[in-house]
């Protein structure tokens, strides 16, 4: 259990996220095929592979996050490329030192969300990755606001739980963005693949904090 967000934690969390996504590869592709083009498992695996590799390049935490952003955008395409790229750019500019306490970690994630919001106007209920992302980061902020002594584990557990709940709810929503939007009412009933994979990633970060 660690209480400090470092480059080492980032690398081990991203490795865990990659393993978790690879284990659910077919499920993620199948979820995407229901409303999109069936490649989300493929896309998110490529994204996390690039992220793991880029995070290990020389430099501090902020450099590592910026390298992850450029690495993801260079290695991947599609709509997830610039979304994930902008999120990690935001994390990079929010990483004020190489060792972040829980409060500074939450601030870094808020910076990531701010940057992401410059690339998409999707809100909760639009059946996108934002259905997991927004509640997860709001839960992090709420955890610190409710208890300034909250641990890094408290913060990431709150994020993972909120992301999972947010992803589950997407099956009730009608898609408003992406290719699934064209299905209208017919997009109801299946979970959004992007929100589902993001929930797995937040869980991997929570696990990495617990195991560090």
């Amino acid at each position: 259990m660690t209480n400090t967000f470092t480059k080492e934690l980032l690398v081990s969390a991203l490795k865990g996220a990659l393993a978790s996504v690879v284990a659910r590869f077919d499920e993620l592709n199948a979820l995407d095929a229901a409303t999109g083009d069936g490649d989300h498992g493929t896309a998110i695996e490529a994204t996390l592979k690039a992220a793991v590799e880029s995070a290990q390049q020389p430099g501090g935490l902020s450099d590592a996050l910026s390298n992850v952003a450029m690495g993801i955008m260079s290695a991947t395409g599609g709509s997830t490329s610039s979304l994930n790229g902008s999120f990690y750019m935001g994390l990079s500019s929010g990483a004020t030192s190489d060792e972040l306490d829980p409060a500074a970690t939450v601030k870094m994630y808020e910076s990531g969300l701010d940057m992401l919001k410059t690339m998409t106007t999707a809100q909760v209920g639009d059946k996108t990755m934002m259905d997991a992302m927004i509640p997860a980061i709001e839960a992090m902020s709420a955890a610190i606001a409710a208890n300034p002594g909250a641990t890094l584990a408290d913060v990431f557990n709150a994020a993972a739980t909120a992301a999972k709940e947010g992803a589950e709810k997407t099956s009730e929503y009608v898609a408003k963005f992406g290719r699934a939007r064209n299905l209208g009412e017919r997009s109801r009933g299946s979970k959004d693949a992007g929100a589902t994979s993001l929930a797995l990633i937040f869980q991997a970060f929570a696990d990495a904090v617990a195991n560090a």
């Binding site: 083009d37 493929t42 260079s74 395409g77 979304l83 790229g85 290719r179 209208g184």
Partner: protein, 334 residues
Amino acid sequence: MVMKKFLNDPQRVTNELLEGYALCYPDKIKLVSEKIVVRATPKSKDKVAIVTLGGAGHEPALSGFVGEGMLDASVVGDIFAAPGAPKIVEALRMFKDNAGIILVVLNHEGDQRNAAMALMMAEKEGIKVSKIVTAEDIAPGAEAPRSERRGLGGCIPLIKILGAAAEKGMSVDEILAIGERFNERMATLAVTLKVATHPQAGQEIGALADDQMEIGMGQHGEGGGNGPELMQSADWVAETMCKKLLYAIKAQAGEKICLIINGSGATTLMEMFVVFRKAYEVAKAAGLEIVASKCAEILTVQEAAGFQMFVGVFDDETLAMYNEPCDTPYWVVR
């Protein structure tokens, strides 16, 4: 059902198809930096460069139209996925000393977002780029806002016009003005009988029963329009679609139009001609003069069966540009 395609490593399919394409047409195009297709002989720097981006898997689009009189570069993403922003910027950088750059972007989430990120990054480097967005799919309804319409195969005739204007030495503003006039008066509608299989994921995209078709399905098997309906005759489909298209572009009797039937991959030329015959008859009956036409595979969707019907209204200048010479692997005018 198990996917049945001629593939090696599915994850390398985009690289391999581009390698093969470049080897096949070495006098016209070449491949640089793995995913950027450029002309074998670049145009002179005093002319505006026309660049586009988009996912692979739609061959010959978009890279099939790189060459004299059309595109200067096509930035290719993976299957059905837009290229990442750094690759787009790399292509834009090649034309930073040209008289200008016009980036043609089809209205799809990934294409738009990665183009936006690329334009932001290019601006930081001092590279000025103008953008033209195609959104001519009328599946969401003739009155739907452009933001809700997809860019389908209509980008190709538009690129023909932009490319010819650029070749004439026109300025960015002049080219955009001509292009937007055609862009505003073009419309596409797709119909699908049998969905495609994603060559990497191995999954069928979308679903249609044996006796169903879907008018309005997009070029990745994603839905649109009113959903699946029972199969109808070629004449019924051609008439229904052509009437919707003519209504959408507000075609007036006496106007000159372009009519294209673009096969999705598994529909025969035989069927395309049968469909064209009826669409031509409908347009003619509406008092329109069909001055340009094509039945061909321009922008495909793997082994999907179906077609896109395209109608565009010309004015004298856009028609002249359409008829200018061009020399690309998949569109030649002499």
